[in-house]
């Protein structure tokens, strides 16, 4: 076979160009680790109650009114009364029903690689303690209110449920707290905390995935015989996300409450309630850094096929020239996978669109190498079926392989979007 030197140099140049381009794209991916963070750099610091005034953002209608008012100086109970009031209230029988509600004031960051999110969340607890009942005349506003240090102090003197989050990682020491005690003995506390929470990331439908940012609280020490966490219609209405809250790269959804129990020792059960806010990833955030390189790398093995031409004597370009493209493509895909998996750890394991597309890339590379070896090097089709069948088979591969490869990759994306 007579080689044409001018043409044989073309595949080398093309493969070199593709390799360079893919490495550049891969390197460009590293800065994307910081996606999902809040837009403003100022709000990245963990903000306590001082920077997020409770009264200005709490969903309760009366909150602003409360903020404007001065702290109530309620008469302090005696020590004996305090000791009595700090035990579990049994005035309405057991278990004590503690109603819980959550308000997502601000979402600061969702790090899907680490599986963490940072948020400022208000937690409202309501229960009844008849020992704290007092004549209506004592409080013209209809309740006694304690805020900040006064609330902390008052809470040490009365019974309060020991509820703790199960998925909280870090918490800001600053805490905003408000306590209201109503004439009939109803107690309401609101606690505002900025904290980081663990979140389970399910990337199967990446980049069309939905994540549930959950704040999960459980009653410690007291079993369901003594204390039960619950919520009613009013708590469901209170539990929501602030209207002006946003999270870059994600569309915010609705808050939902769910209740359950956690088994303990010897048949003990502990009550729990979780508030989960669902967020949908904006798919466009993954297109440029992930899917364009992935689809582009699918073209490399196809080039190894397209660059050759069937002639009467065989193929114009020798096998090793085009095998170089496939091998170069293999290294490009390996580099790309390394870059993507480093930046997006949550998609490295498991079955998702990205891992499927990488699988398709490797399979297409294997097919192109097979074509190079079977057609260009050993000429199996020509030996077995003659040159006309070889020619038609080659022409078929030239158009069918791209159609099937691109069709499959589009199918992977559509399946994720479904």
């Amino acid at each position: 076979m007579k080689r044409r030197p001018a043409r044989s140099r073309a595949p080398r140049a093309v493969s070199l160009f593709i390799l360079t381009a893919l490495f550049c794209i891969a390197l460009a991916l590293f800065p994307h680790k910081s996606r999902g963070q809040s837009k403003s750099s100022e709000s990245r610091t963990v903000v306590g109650p001082a920077s997020a005034p409770m009264a200005s953002a709490a969903p309760e209608a009366s909150a602003p009114e409360v903020a404007a008012r001065a702290k109530t100086a309620a008469p302090a109970p005696s020590e004996a009364e305090e000791a009595e009031e700090a035990t579990i209230p049994m005035g309405r029988g057991l278990p004590v029903v503690v109603r819980i509600a959550f308000f997502f004031l601000e979402l600061k960051e969702l790090d899907d690689t680490k599986g963490e999110f940072e948020a400022i969340v208000d937690m409202r607890l309501r229960w009844s303690d008849l020992r704290l009942a007092y004549p209506l005349q004592e409080s013209p506003r209809g309740y006694k209110e304690y805020r900040g240090a006064a609330a902390e102090k008052r809470l040490t003197t009365i019974w309060k449920p020991h509820v703790e989050p199960t998925n909280r990682l870090e918490v800001d020491d600053n805490v905003g707290r408000r306590v209201r005690i109503f004439p009939n003995g109803d107690v309401e506390t609101i606690e505002r905390r900025a904290a980081r929470y663990k979140v389970k990331i399910d990337a199967q439908r990446f980049p069309f995935d939905r994540q549930y940012l959950k704040v999960d609280y459980i009653v410690r020490e007291d079993t369901t015989d003594a204390v039960v966490l619950d919520y009613e219609n009013d708590d469901v209405e209170w539990s929501r996300i602030a209207k002006d809250a946003e999270l870059e790269g994600w569309r915010l959804g609705l808050v939902d409450l769910s209740r359950g129990v956690v088994p303990g020792w010897n048949g003990d059960r502990y009550s729990r309630v979780a508030a989960s806010l669902f967020v949908d990833r904006l798919p466009t955030t993954g297109i440029a850094p992930i899917f364009i390189p992935l689809i582009a790398s699918l073209l490399i093995p196809l080039l190894a096929i397209w660059m050759n031409k069937s002639t009467e004597d065989g193929f114009e370009i020798e096998a090793f020239e085009l095998a170089n493209i496939s091998i170069g493509g293999l290294f490009s895909v390996i580099a790309l996978s390394f870059a993507i998996y480093s930046s997006y750890g949550m998609i490295a394991g498991g079955d998702n669109t990205v891992t499927r597309l990488f699988g398709l890339n490797y399979m297409t590379l294997a097919l192109s190498l097979s074509v190079v070896i079977a057609f260009y090097r050993f000429k199996f089709p020509r030996r077995l079926f003659g040159r006309y069948v070889e020619e038609q088979l080659f022409l078929f591969i030239c158009w069918a392989l791209p159609i099937l490869t691109l069709g499959t990759s589009v199918a992977f994306l559509l399946v994720a979007a479904a």
Partner: protein, 355 residues
């Protein structure tokens, strides 16, 4: 043909999904019916238990309101706080309020004009249950007649349960979001004891008021003004925040079969919809593979084994006619059986021309 098969397959999948969703709507209706019935039974059982207590019967038959309140007050508080008891009331015939445990200071009003179930209990002296709108709001009520020791009818006792525990149970047990819508005019006319937070513009949906919802924000988007005016059970689908929901509306009737509101139940259809979408994509991809591979096989066989060799032989025959006998045919084995004879004849002609 492959396209046709794929199309039929897609149609069948869609049909299966429609059937599955229709089953889901039916399940929602069945669950609502059975839960409602169970709640009515619960109200009735409690009413019977209380009215059968000797001390309660004695106080009522003696028309001793204070004693009756003393006997039943704690029971009512406990039941209200823990078990969703919304209202409890003793009546004297034909339907005059004797004691409201939920509002003891108010009594003596005749309810026969707007409480047909109560009127019937006191007229026929049989127990009744159903949804009723009372002064305190809508409730799932059970009313039992009360008799004295001489078995003379002396009045009735009613227990009304809230909707919220029932709907919460639907959510907890079946994952259904639920809401109850009550006719606003009836609420304004009858339920005069309702708090001002119930009859607010935000809760107005068409001619109804959203009285209770397991997820108010979601239900606000799922059931709109144009949806809620139904007189028969109806269902539809709606996407809220990217999630497809199947919504089942069921008219709510009072004891006299007059529509007083609407129940709304919603089920998350995202799982079935996603499965349908995935199924469609995979079927489409399988169809594409089928079409491409079949086309490839046809092209390779027809063009590779027949047309291309035939064209090559034809070119050689042409050259031979021009006097060029230098182009030999391909090896005979490379032709299919049908062309082998033609190739052999070409070689014979070429040999003759060469001589």
């Amino acid at each position: 043909m492959i396209g046709l098969i794929t199309g039929v397959s897609l149609l069948l999948t869609s049909q299966m999904l429609r059937n599955a969703e229709a089953d889901s709507f039916r399940l929602m209706r069945d669950v609502l019916t059975s839960t409602l019935r169970a709640t009515e039974e619960k109200a009735l059982v409690r009413a019977e238990l209380v009215s059968a207590m000797p001390a309660v019967r004695s106080a009522f038959n003696q028309r001793d309101r204070d004693k009756l309140l003393l006997e039943t007050r704690d029971m009512y508080k406990e039941q209200a706080e823990k078990y969703g008891l919304d209202q409890a009331q003793f009546h004297v015939p034909p339907g005059v309020s004797f004691l409201r445990l939920h509002r003891p200071e108010k009594f003596g009003d005749d309810q026969t004009s707007y409480r047909p179930m109560l009127t019937e209990v006191n007229r026929d002296k049989v127990l009744r249950k159903g949804v009723a709108i009372t002064r305190a709001g809508p409730a799932i009520a059970g009313i039992v007649p009360i008799f004295d020791d001489a078995n003379q009818h002396t009045g009735s006792f009613e227990m009304g349960l809230e909707f919220s525990p029932m709907l919460d149970k639907l959510k907890q047990s079946y994952g259904l979001e639920a809401a109850v819508f009550i006719d606003e005019k009836m609420l304004r006319d009858i339920s005069t004891d309702l708090g001002g937070d119930v009859l607010t513009p935000e809760k107005r949906v068409g001619k109804y008021i959203r009285f209770h919802a397991t997820h108010p924000v979601l239900l606000r988007s799922l059931v709109l003004d144009r949806d809620v005016s139904v007189t028969d059970a109806s269902s539809y689908e709606r996407i809220v925040s990217g999630t497809p929901w199947g919504v089942q509306l069921v008219p709510m009737y009072n004891y006299m079969n007059k529509q007083i509101g609407v129940y709304a139940l919603a089920m998350d259809f995202s799982v079935t919809r996603a499965a349908q979408g995935r199924s469609r994509v995979w079927q489409g991809l399988a169809g594409l593979f089928g079409v491409v591979l079949t086309a490839g096989m046809i092209l390779i066989v027809v063009r590779g084994l027949l047309l291309s060799p035939l064209k090559a032989l034809n070119d050689r025959f042409g050259a031979l006619l021009e006097g060029d006998a230098t182009q030999p045919a391909d090896p005979v084995d490379s032709y299919c059986d049908e062309l082998k004879t033609l190739a052999a004849n070409y070689e014979r002609l070429r040999a003759k021309e060469a001589k």
